[in-house]
């Protein structure tokens, strides 16, 4: 059997199928956790914004508590958060491993981060536009739905991009404790078995993934910012 060019370049990688599988796992973890992060973080961010000082539904004490909770979750390093959350993860999805086991800690780690970005993006919306909607008889919900979210969509798209990229990093970390994906491959083969070509390939793939996400995000933000 003659060696293919790929084999001579990456002598240690004997199973490209495994690499492909890891790619798909990473994408699944990213897609699943990003969707859930937005689903949870967006309302949380809106809540933070609305209950903040001087806002439509200002509730200083409630805001203080939610804000503290968000800060606590954000300040725990993700690798620690994953380990601490293991019992919760098991209770939620029935396993601590694989793509399924990775998603709960990813979401719990990223949702508070995204919520803060949402809060910041909403604060950029001009107070006058909100006042105009109120003068037209808009309810708080209508202000959120028809003014805040559409007016902040550029900032929100930027926030989703930043969060997605942070999640790529988190999924790679998850590899260290058995969540699979590219991080797992890099850790097991690249770090524990000194197969540096594995490390190189996974890093390149992750860089490409991050680049793609950033480009997509920038394009969407640019389209919204035009007006």
């Amino acid at each position: 059997m003659t060696a293919s060019p790929l084999q001579s370049l990456f002598p240690n990688i004997d199973d490209w199928g495994e690499l492909g599988h890891a790619c798909i796992d990473t994408l699944l973890m990213l897609g699943g956790s990003l969707a859930l992060t937005v689903l949870i973080g967006l309302p949380l961010g809106v809540l933070l914004y609305l209950t903040g000082k001087g806002q439509l539904r200002a509730m200083p004490k409630f805001y203080g508590i939610v804000s503290l909770l968000v800060n606590v979750l954000r300040s725990v390093p993700f690798i620690i958060l994953m380990i601490v959350l293991m019992p919760v993860t098991y209770a939620l999805v029935g396993t601590k491993l694989g793509v399924r086991g990775a998603i709960p800690p990813l979401v719990i780690g990223a949702a508070p981060f995204f919520a803060r970005l949402v809060e910041t993006a909403l604060r950029e919306v001009q107070q006058g536009v909100i006042e105009a909607a109120q003068a037209m008889g808009a309810s708080t919900w209508q202000v959120v739905r028809h003014v805040l979210l559409p007016e902040a969509r550029g900032g929100l798209a930027a926030g989703i991009t930043v969060t997605a990229i942070a999640l790529v990093g988190y999924t790679a970390m998850g590899g260290a404790i058995g969540s699979g994906g590219l991080g797992d491959l890099a850790y097991r083969y690249g770090y524990l078995s000194y197969k540096s070509d594995y490390m190189l390939v996974t890093v390149v793939l992750l860089v490409v993934l991050v680049q793609l996400l950033q480009m997509m995000g920038d394009r969407i933000v640019a389209r919204y910012k035009r007006h």
Binding site: A132, G137, A138, H146, P150, H227
Partner: protein, 334 residues
């Protein structure tokens, strides 16, 4: 009728009550253009926002027709707000929506779902403000005057009975200001809606208001018809506003090294257009020296105001004859 009954407003800042508006009573009549003039910080933005309860009064009642706005629960208040249009100094349009969608916004908020009905109403409103060909543009592609016209179209969408104008022309150049004021005057005339506007420019009041209230440090110091307030200002703040509008006159009338009696004559309406002054002076053999003067209009009312120095034996008789002809005379002191 918009009626303020013993209304006052104060803000709580760091545990201290800061008064913004002293207790006041004010009636604004149906169909009139009512101006509230004051320097920044006088409380005029607070006052106009009390009408649609964007600001809640600290005490007193605000009635629109028979409805006590201050007693309404949230949903009823929102329904009332739809009957009150509002335009703003900085327009406050949705930057993410086209002109047409901005105008359709209050219709959608009010629960209108029928796309054909919305389009028909939007077309009608854009035609009214002269922006038909800009329907598909975004606010950032429009000039300031055009943005304010979108604001006006939007404010009129739900056929309100009252239009509140919050410094609506303060961000516009003089020419655009004039055209926006003309549009507001036309709307007031044709739709018979009540307009309440706040401004710091006497010229805006003079051009389109019927009545005016002067606000100074949270207090209404003077109010009445624009002609009365503008031609015979009583309070120092009002005089300052009038002087700002007519700067040269203020300067000449204040420095006369003249002999004789210095008087200010005010002609209103028909009297402005007749040669009363020269006839009376000739008949009584009185000489006069013209120190300052102007002939202009307050809304549709022509008026003239002349500052004269009179010399002659018969000045009292001449003044009596002028008064009899309906001319208002104030002694300025030499």
């Amino acid at each position: 009728m918009i009626r303020f009954l013993d209304v006052h407003k104060s803000y709580r800042v760091d545990g201290r009550e800061i008064p913004a508006l002293q207790p006041f009573n004010l009636d604004i009549r149906d169909g009139e253009v009512f101006g509230i003039i004051g320097h920044s910080g006088a409380g005029k933005s607070t006052l106009i926002r009390l009408i649609n309860l964007l600001e809640r009064p600290s005490g007193g009642r605000i009635l629109i027709g028979d409805t006590d706005m201050t007693a309404l629960p949230e949903p009823a208040l929102r329904a009332q707000r739809r009957r009150i249009g509002m335009i703003f100094q900085h327009f406050n349009l949705l930057s993410s929506q086209t002109v047409a969608d901005n105008v359709a916004f209050p219709l959608r908020l009010a629960g209108e779902r029928d796309a054909a009905k919305i389009r028909a109403r939007v077309d009608e409103l854009l035609a009214r403000v002269g922006l038909t060909e800009h329907a598909g543009k975004y606010p950032s592609q429009l000039s300031g005057g055009q943005k304010q016209r979108v604001g006006i179209a939007r404010a009129l969408a739900n056929r309100p009975e009252i239009l509140l104008c919050d410094e609506a022309t303060s961000a516009l150049d003089p020419q655009t200001t004039a055209s926006v004021l003309d549009l507001l005057a036309a709307i007031n005339r044709e739709l018979k809606l009540t307009i309440v506007l706040i401004t710091h420019e006497m010229d805006v009041v003079r051009r389109i208001c019927d009545r005016v209230a002067v606000l100074d440090a949270g207090r209404i110091v003077e109010s009445g018809t624009v002609a009365d307030v503008f031609l015979h200002p009583q309070h120092a703040t009002t005089r300052r506003f009038v002087d700002e509008a007519l700067p040269e006159e203020a300067a000449t009338a204040q420095a006369p090294n003249m002999t004789g009696r210095v008087l200010r004559l005010t002609f209103r309406g028909a009297a402005t257009l007749q040669p009363v002054l020269s006839r009376v002076m000739r008949e009584h053999g009185v000489d006069f020296n013209l120190l300052a003067g102007r002939i202009d209009r307050i809304k549709e009312l022509p008026y003239g105001q002349l500052t004269l120095a009179l010399e002659g034996a018969n000045t009292d008789a001449a003044l009596a004859a002028l008064r009899a002809a309906g001319i208002e005379i104030e002694e300025m002191g030499a």
